[in-house]
């Protein structure tokens, strides 16, 4: 095997030490069963590795890390195992194809949650449980993207409205009240309206002037339960599960994306070597 002349992609010599994380078909890494092996051969589509210790069980796919990444870190690729075999000198070998779920995942630099309008929720392209194993293997690192309000029952993204603080109905009407300064009476405008003009029901003052004699106060009355208060409450309604809840009862959903923190191994760059 001749030395690679491409400076951008450092050479991979035969016998380079490879990290191997056995994985399940869904992409979940077996972090605690990580093993090491030596590179025997590699083409644009296939790789052949000799394992230092024979695996206790065969695995369908794996993530491999080979040296030569930036800052001396490894470069990663996903493979589907096509063959497990033992050589004449008793060493376990695997042959894999650069394809499958692991290969797909590791090829993207960013894994970001997407809003799904049918379920009204944010979803990562990879199962979070799977993602935790990738994080444990230090292949991906979490990045805080945002915090959004979620339904306290199902965690979906709810809608919000100003509504009744008691029954959480959105059907409220503003009520205008008059505060007559002189006698401190507070009553609804209707109570003041008499004989075609404004008359204070407490002190019988006729035609007071707004601003100098009285001011308006406002409340909101609920059409459904009759509750009346100065401020409407923030009310959440989940379109996914139909739950209504107080605005401050919404759960906080932390949106986390993942960034690959190692380089990707590009087998095509080594095509000339084979």
């Amino acid at each position: 095997m001749s030395a690679d002349t491409n400076t951008a992609v450092p050479a991979l010599s035969r016998g380079a030490v490879a990290d191997i994380w056995p994985a399940q078909a869904d992409g979940q890494l077996r972090v605690n069963r990580r093993t090491e092996g030596r590179l025997c051969s590699m083409s644009a589509t296939e790789i052949d590795l000799a394992l230092h210790t024979p695996p206790s069980r065969a695995f369908p796919s794996a993530l491999i890390g080979l040296p030569g990444g930036a800052d001396g870190r490894s470069r990663c690729a996903g493979i589907e195992i096509t063959d497990h075999y033992t050589t004449d000198d008793g060493r376990a070998r695997i042959t894999g194809r650069f394809a499958g779920r692991i290969h797909d995942v590791v090829s993207s630099q960013w894994l970001l949650p997407d809003f799904d309008p049918t379920t009204m929720a944010y979803r990562l392209p990879v199962d979070p449980a799977v993602m935790r194993t990738w994080q444990a293997a230090k292949i991906y690192e979490p990045v805080l993207l945002d915090r959004v309000a979620g339904c306290p029952r199902c965690g979906c993204v709810p809608t919000f409205r100003s509504g009744c603080g008691r029954c959480r109905s959105g059907r409220t009407d503003p009520i205008k009240l008059i505060h007559h300064y002189a006698c401190a009476h507070v009553g609804s405008v209707k109570e003041y309206e008499a004989e075609g003009s404004l008359i204070c029901p407490k002190c019988r003052t006729r035609d007071p002037m707004v601003g100098t004699d009285y001011e308006y106060l406002t409340t909101h009355r609920c059409r459904d339960c009759g509750w009346e208060e100065s401020q409407l409450a923030s009310v959440g309604h989940c379109l996914a599960c139909d739950e209504r809840f107080a605005g401050n009862a919404a759960q906080q959903i932390v949106l986390v994306g993942y960034r690959r923190c190692v380089d990707r191994l590009d087998p095509l760059a080594h095509v000339t070597e084979s």
């Binding site: 300064y181 401190a184 009553g187 002190c203 208060e229 401020q231």
Partner: protein, 428 residues
């Protein structure tokens, strides 16, 4: 010097003693020391008979009317949660209405937070600009659907069981207002609060027992008072103050209701901690008292009115003689002593001061005799050596503000109510 003084003292005739102590004997001893003692003896006798022959009828029947607490606060973010915490859960099916009187701070937000955290039955009403306590209470009354309405200041907290105790006198359908027992929350903050604590204990905890017994209560302090809702609605709610608490008490008195005192319904309140604030508070109180009792509600003393009762007249006489007349008499006495200096002026003043201390110390004994927590109140009672001085300063403030109110009606310039309300309201 001490021997000189004792020599001078022993040389005085009985008649001179009487003249030197005339004010003390006529006012403090007769009106306060003696009457309180008689009341204490009466109460002791009653407690004794009740112990040997308990009144089963009232013991077995709990009286639990529906209660709504109304609070009004302007920029009270520091105290509102503590007040709510002491109120909420202290009485069955309690409703609370908080009126945010044009606050620019977190009063409303803290209240809303408390409501959400405790799932409390709190209704929050907001006024866009400060409009004063009276309109806040009237605003709240629109929503107070309970038999009894209780007002509590945002800088006060209730002792356990206070609400249950303050509503008990309403068993009697004639009772319209019940005053709670207001004590100083942190009496040992400084000398001023220490002396005020003594004044509150003697004047309210003991003093109102007597005026409640005689039916001569002037005011149910707004800091903690209970009202029969119907009665308040019938008199049209609160009028513009300052002094809206005594005003409504007196109007309910005119409407024929009884005013009672619930001595064991305790509310702890903050009092002014600096002399400047103390001065302003007392000016406000004294001015409104003059306005209520010498102008707006002077007719309580007229025997020709349909609402005339002897207790009303007794109350007016008590206030006029023992507060106003005595105040000016003390000033005259002092003025006379100062403009006629004799070699014995200082001896006289020391003698009179010592006698006042003696009376204050006796007041302390009465306080201790009536209170539940003697250890706590003993420290307050130790203030008796300063109490004559305190009352003297208080009377100077009183004379200043009362005279100002009589001559210039200063209460209409008090910033306790906003300018636009003061400008629109009537002047009595």
């Amino acid at each position: 010097m001490l021997t000189d003084w004792i020599h001078w003292l022993t040389s005085l005739s009985l008649e001179t003693h009487f003249w030197l102590l005339s004010l003390l004997l006529l006012a403090d001893v007769v009106r306060y020391a003696l009457s309180y003692t008689l009341m204490a003896v009466y109460d002791a006798a009653r407690a004794f008979t009740r112990r040997i022959r308990p009144n089963r009828r009232t013991l077995n029947r709990p009286y639990i009317p529906s209660v709504c607490v109304i609070m009004s606060g302007h920029n009270e973010e520091s105290g509102v949660v503590a007040t709510l915490a002491s109120v909420w859960g202290s009485y069955p099916n309690l409703k609370i209405i908080v009126v945010d009187d044009g606050s620019t701070d977190q009063t409303a937000a803290r209240t809303a937070q408390f409501t959400a955290d405790r799932n409390a039955d709190v209704r929050l009403l907001r006024k866009p600009a400060r409009g004063g306590k009276a309109s806040s209470y009237n605003f709240a009354m629109r929503y107070a659907d309970a038999d009894i309405v209780i007002t509590i200041d945002c800088d006060s907290t209730l002792a356990p069981g206070a609400i249950y105790r303050i509503v008990q006198p309403f068993r009697d359908p004639r009772v319209g207002v019940v005053s709670g027992n207001v004590e100083v929350r942190r009496p040992m903050t400084n000398t001023l609060t220490w002396m005020q604590a003594h004044e509150y204990l003697l004047g309210i905890s003991v003093g109102r027992r007597l005026s409640s017994l005689l039916g001569t209560m002037v005011v149910a302090s707004g800091a903690f008072a209970a009202f029969r809702r119907e009665a308040v609605n019938r008199v049209g709610g609160w009028d513009v103050g300052p002094g809206e608490d005594s005003d409504i008490t007196l109007r309910l008195r005119k409407a024929g209701h009884r005013i009672m005192f619930a001595p064991r319904a305790t509310c702890l309140t903050d009092v002014p901690t600096t002399w400047g604030r103390f001065f302003r508070q007392r000016c406000r109180w004294n001015r409104s008292q003059v306005r209520e009792l010498s102008r707006k509600h002077l007719d309580l003393a007229y025997p020709t009115t349909h609402f005339f009762r002897w207790t009303n007249l007794l109350m007016m006489v008590d206030v006029w003689v023992f507060q106003v007349l005595r105040l000016y008499a003390i000033l005259l006495y002092l003025g006379w002593v100062i403009i006629h200096p004799t070699p014995h002026t200082w001896s006289t003043l020391v003698y009179v001061y010592l006698m006042y201390i003696l009376v204050s110390a006796y007041g302390g004994l009465l306080i201790l005799g009536y209170c539940d927590n003697r250890r706590k109140h003993l420290r307050v009672c130790a203030a008796c050596v300063l109490i004559p001085f305190y009352h003297f300063v208080r009377r100077l403030i009183c004379a200043f503000s009362m005279t100002g109110e009589v001559l210039f009606r200063r209460s209409y310039h008090d910033a306790f109510y906003p300018r636009r309300v003061r400008a629109a309201t009537w002047r009595w």
